[in-house]
């Protein structure tokens, strides 16, 4: 009896050790869990557990119905948010990388400059967003354009700090003796930067982006709350909550989640391609 059980157990462990099963597991298990939660939600068990009602937490079917009814409006707001998040993310990351290069080349002044940048990272977005709204009043006569500028600046400030900190580590935490090797070649600083430091920083850049992508979406959503022009997923969530239109608010919450997940997946795909090539080289 016990022998049979042992054999069964080993069979099970062999099954789970199989590589294909393992990779399928990483995909199937979360999906199953998600379906389970969705079932609880749709059948109302979740509401009883959380002690809430279908008005504050509408059923998934109803949220989907609202989303398809207001397709155009939700799409417009989603695009506004994506534009802000991406523009801020890209400009902020580029500036952050340049700051990191500057800091890596001038350690004494650069490192403390990075300290200031890191301090900027700790400034709450709620404090930044209204200041930027005020500062960009003269950028354009069009309220949409100037709000857009304010929001992009907020997102890029958040991205700058993150990128410069990680990229600096990537540019300076080199393999032992590789810097000495470059010195023994009498390589100029620029060559060391291009051939040693910058390739070394690539994985660190992706580490930074993994944090920066979700946080740029969130900063875009929050900066919309304080923007002058009423557009964007974040602003719609707020407007609908204030008006107690929870079902519509939920439709926007779902689209906010989708934006984040989509951008993160795109990053993962790019990271997979780039890092594969990086390791080969």
């Amino acid at each position: 009896m016990s022998d049979k059980r042992k054999r069964d157990k080993s069979k099970v462990s062999v099954f789970f050790a199989n590589e294909k099963v393992k990779s399928a597991e990483t995909f199937v298990l979360p999906v199953l869990f998600g379906i389970f939660i969705m079932l609880l939600w749709q059948t109302g068990v979740l509401h009883r557990l959380l002690n809430t009602d279908t008005f504050t937490l509408p059923l998934p079917g109803r949220i989907l119905a609202i989303m398809s009814d207001n397709r155009d409006k939700i799409w417009m707001n989603t695009m506004a948010t994506v534009l802000v998040a991406l523009a801020g993310l890209i400009s902020g990351s580029l500036i952050g990388y340049l700051i990191a290069i500057f800091a890596a080349l001038n350690r004494k002044w650069g490192a403390s400059g990075l300290g200031i940048v890191a301090a900027c990272n700790a400034i709450p977005i709620v404090a930044l967003a209204p200041v930027m709204t005020n500062l960009t009043k003269d950028v354009s006569h069009d309220a949409n354009t100037r709000s857009m500028a304010a929001k992009i600046i907020v997102v890029s400030i958040v991205s700058i700090a993150n990128m410069s900190f990680n990229a600096y580590r990537g540019l300076t935490e080199l393999k032992p003796f590789s810097e000495d090797l470059m010195a023994s070649y009498a390589a100029p600083k620029a060559v060391t930067l291009l051939k040693l430091r910058m390739p070394n920083s690539i994985p660190y850049v992706f580490t930074a982006l993994r944090v920066a992508v979700p946080s740029s979406v969130i900063s875009a959503l929050v900066s919309e709350y304080f923007a002058e022009y009423i557009i964007g997923v974040g602003r719609q969530i707020r407007e609908n909550i204030v008006l107690a239109q929870y079902p519509s608010a939920w439709a926007y919450i779902v689209s906010a989640c989708l934006i984040g997940i989509l951008l993160y997946s795109i990053l993962m795909i790019i990271e997979g391609i780039v890092l594969k090539r990086h390791v080969k080289a």
């Binding site: 298990l29 504050t56 403390s112 301090a119 400034i123 977005i125 005020n134 580590r169 919450i253």
Partner: protein
């Protein structure tokens, strides 16, 4: 004594210069704004005006000076943020531990951790409010949820950073599973845990302020929206901006100091590695 002072001064000089540069840029901007605007204090006031507002004894609202008002609201907001932060960091650590112990839990939960991070906090507010039935509790819960993600993922990364050779060594020692956790895994995860705390602390404050803007019963966020709508002196707004910036920076630094207290041996290695000057 003198040389020690000189050494300290030299160490802080670049930071000081950067702060001065920042102030100079701000002031240049303030002068430029003052030249073209009718109400420059709405856009970019001089630094001295903000300092003046902080120390003025003029009653702004409800018989309170601007500083009193900000500090009182801040105590409300920061108290909630701190409590939420504490709950979030403890549960984040515990979940990371569970995910390390059970691979299946990690596989099921980890993707959802990211999705939770994606749900905008204000979106969660009414739901959590209806669950807890109390706005204060829901603020604390929201701060906890926001803290939770960076702490949990950071700590898990710490657990996973332990090299194969250390497992092998513990295996050779015939160490028990609990020993493996208490002597190897948890100690190596602690620095990562603190990295998570440093990221999470300003976020907890941001969350608390943001939830304030949703309901009007005191707190920095409530005050912020009131002064933005010109219900009181606009300098209250600037004081809140500076106060929340300092609170955010200070909270992050505080976590760094606690880390130094807990892990003195990490001091030199980490400072050199991360180029932390401030």
């Amino acid at each position: 004594m003198m040389s020690r002072f000189w050494y300290k001064f030299k160490k802080w000089l670049p930071t000081l210069v950067w702060i001065l540069i920042f102030a100079a840029v701000w002031e240049a901007g303030a002068f430029a704004v003052a030249a073209v605007k009718r109400t420059p204090e709405n856009v970019l006031p001089h630094i001295y005006q903000i300092v003046e507002a902080a120390f003025s004894s003029k009653k702004v609202s409800g018989g309170k000076t601007a500083s009193d008002l900000v500090l009182y609201s801040a105590s409300l907001t920061l108290g909630r943020a701190a409590l939420g932060f504490l709950i979030g960091s403890v549960s984040g650590f515990v979940l990371a531990l569970i995910m390390k112990i059970s691979k299946i839990v990690e596989k099921v939960i980890f993707p959802y951790l990211m999705i939770i991070q994606m749900i905008p906090i204000l979106g969660m507010a009414p739901i959590i409010l209806s669950v807890t039935g109390d706005i204060n509790t829901s603020r604390i819960v929201i701060a906890a949820i926001l803290t939770f993600y960076p702490v949990a993922t950071g700590t898990l990364a710490g657990f996973n950073s332990v090299e194969r050779s250390k497992y092998d060594l513990m295996h050779i020692y015939a160490a028990k599973k609990t020993d493996l956790y208490t002597k190897v895994l948890i100690p190596s995860a602690v620095p990562y845990f603190f990295t998570g705390l440093k990221i999470a602390a300003p976020m907890a404050i941001t969350a608390s302020i943001l939830v304030d803007t949703l309901q009007g019963d005191g707190g920095l966020g409530t005050l912020l929206s009131q002064s933005l709508k010109h219900a009181m002196s606009v300098y209250v707004f600037w004081l809140i901006v500076f106060f929340s910036a300092f609170a955010g920076i200070f909270s992050s630094k505080l976590m760094g100091s606690i880390e130094h207290l807990v892990l003195p041996h990490k001091r030199t290695a980490r400072a050199a590695g991360k180029g932390e000057a401030v």
